[in-house]
Symmetry: C2
Subunit: 393 residues, 2 copies
């Protein structure tokens, strides 16, 4: 069967703030082939990712993503990496293509899972899906008091783990960061798993990161995430040698599997965090899960948006019993939460489970699309290259 | 003074083919500040790079590039890396931002050079600009006969060096590639410097690259360029250990300085090729030139488009006498050649020289913009985010 259509739906909250909260907008992708459909979500900058899908070609190795996707055969799972190689070749010089393709790739797995009546994790090679221990993913409060209250709230919601990140952390003094860490630990209680996300704030400044290690150890952080930008392998490596009791976590910025491997091989990370909506989709993410196992590194999903993205991000390491912790968007904006009518909520034991259902197992709610849909039109060379599609019934 | 305006002009040939010829379209950038203007060219996918400049923001770390540029102070050269850090932070999750920002960054240097009456290379720290030995950058012919004729034509134009790349090379058998290399060597003559560009065709397939080493040695290739995609550090490194008489060249895909450093430190390349229109502009490119010197690696520009791009790409290593070879677009499309009214043509001694003139020293021809300008309009959220600007007088 051929891939008949790829549609993009750009959703946005009425107001998008400067918070480090990636759930304020979303780019949904729907693919159609032979009477079946698949859904997924791209990560980051909807308009730019749409442009990469539909732009006029610049030359043979800078073609719009859809030119390598529409009309392609989709008979079995081997077609997905084949199309991925095509996109990689034909859009080699189109930087944003990796983000655009990631969403399409995931939707193709969803579609095939539905057509074959198999959950995606099984198509990826995992016989079963193990339960995951969700950590509530939160922004630091503007003050330690707010952070304390957030920690307490998560404890009240029975989260055994929580991650605090971004907000003011790392931007002022090490003493101010210590106060934030103290508040987070107090809010979470002595037994909670505390994770800390610096949001790449120190770029590649080893000394700035070093100044926080004492407090991270004092308040028993389980990991320090993204002290640096993802390319700063040397800084990651140097810090990892000094912070053994607080392993480093990184990888969400990886827009191809090489970048994630480099963080493992040359950056010394203990946790590799993969956003399936950026790295090229589920195939590359599974490749990194296997690679992490071989190198003694723990795979973790990166997910800050919808439960559609969450369902996708859990597939690549569903079969890894010991890679137990998973990111869980605990305070998403309404838009992100409402994208699906079903949700992967923690069970009575506090664990999150992927059900044994076809595809990603999530149902997109057309009323949410209707409610948050952004009207877009892109014209070039006398043609309409993109116009917001109608909401599917 | 403040940055008052940043305008993008998307130019295109009437027909854009599937050739690996990046000179078929162009994205020009003009910046204005305090009555001065600066010009430059972005590399790759004009529409997508425009979208990254003007898209609605997604969150604090996924903002459109222009939000970090317009209104910023531009008093001296230290302002440029300051704005670069701002873009890096505010557009951390916007993949295409690196390509968009690269063009703006270069235009800011051009503007400051004009305002301060200094050539950009001097602002970058080079007391003088040494002449460079241009290599004619060409696509392999569809047949060895065409390649032979191209080689002869370059010799007739007095080029002492030529690079053949892309086209059929690497896509069929090693024997077919040997025929192409034989033809290139014959066309260029025994004394010509022959460079070979595989255009990342083998992705990360070490064995496929290995099969070509014999012929590359036989016909005395000066380097083998991009056997693999830029992230495939392990494959580059392994090949570099087997191909010592034919050093590897790579780096054009680097969209930040880290990627170029990794090719030097972990990929074993002998030549690091930087496209200033992708890596973040002239500041990061100069950083890599310095890094290359310290590691015993030779810096080379990557330029396949206009002489505006060529003038920019020569600045970062203008002061390096021993890094003598430079890429020279020998068969650009009319659009690319006509962007500037002046050109950096080789002198009687076959060498290319940057003149001691303010800025990049190039004059953009408004008639060329007029002739090739693409009409674009991007609307979202009820607003026109971008519309092709008027051609400047």
């Amino acid at each position: 069967m051929r891939i008949d259509a790829v549609d993009f739906f750009y959703l946005s909250m009425p107001e998008v703030t400067l918070e480090g909260d990636g759930s304020q907008d979303a780019l949904l992708v729907r693919v159609a082939s032979g009477g079946h459909v698949g859904w997924s979500e791209c990560e980051a900058s909807p308009l730019t990712s749409i442009a990469a899908a539909v732009c006029p070609r610049s030359h043979g190795a800078c073609q719009p993503v859809l030119d390598s996707v529409l009309g392609q055969t989709l008979d079995d799972i081997a077609d997905i990496p084949r199309i991925a190689r095509l996109v990689g070749r034909n859009s080699l010089d189109l930087l944003q293509a990796d983000h655009t393709w990631s969403g399409i790739e995931i939707a193709l797995w969803d579609l095939l899972g539905r057509r074959l009546s198999e959950p995606v994790y099984r198509l990826l090679g995992w016989p079963k899906a193990f339960p995951k221990l969700p950590y509530a993913s939160l922004l630091f409060g503007d003050t330690p008091e707010i952070t304390l209250a957030k920690g307490r709230a998560m404890r009240a919601r029975s989260f055994r783990a929580a991650k605090f990140g971004w907000g003011p952390f790392g931007q002022s003094t090490a003493a101010a960061d210590r106060d934030q860490l103290a508040a987070a630990r107090e809010g979470l209680g002595p037994d909670g798993i505390l994770l800390v996300d610096a949001g790449a704030i120190w770029v590649d400044d080893l000394q700035a990161a070093r100044q926080r290690l004492g407090a991270l150890q004092e308040f028993r952080a389980h990991w320090l995430e993204e002290p640096f930008v993802s390319g700063a392998l040397d800084a990651h490596h140097a810090l990892s040698r000094e912070s053994r009791s607080v392993p480093l976590a990184a990888g969400e910025g990886s827009h191809n599997p090489f970048m994630a491997r480099h963080l493992i091989d040359h950056g010394g990370v203990g946790f590799i965090q993969i956003d399936t909506g950026r790295i090229g989709g589920l195939g590359p993410a599974k490749e990194i899960a296997d690679y992490a196992v071989a190198r003694g590194v723990t795979f973790v999903n990166h997910t800050f948006t919808s439960h559609l993205a969450l369902a996708a991000s859990l597939q690549p390491f569903a079969g890894l019993k010991d890679h137990e912790i998973c990111e869980f968007p605990a305070e998403p904006k309404a838009l992100a939460f409402e994208i699906t009518s079903d949700h992967l909520m923690p069970g009575g034991d506090g664990l999150v489970r992927l059900a044994d259902v076809p595809g990603l197992g999530m149902t997109v709610d057309p009323r949410t699309i209707e409610r948050y849909l952004v009207d877009v039109e892109i014209r070039a060379k006398g043609e309409i290259l993109y116009r917001t599609p109608r909401v599917p019934a």
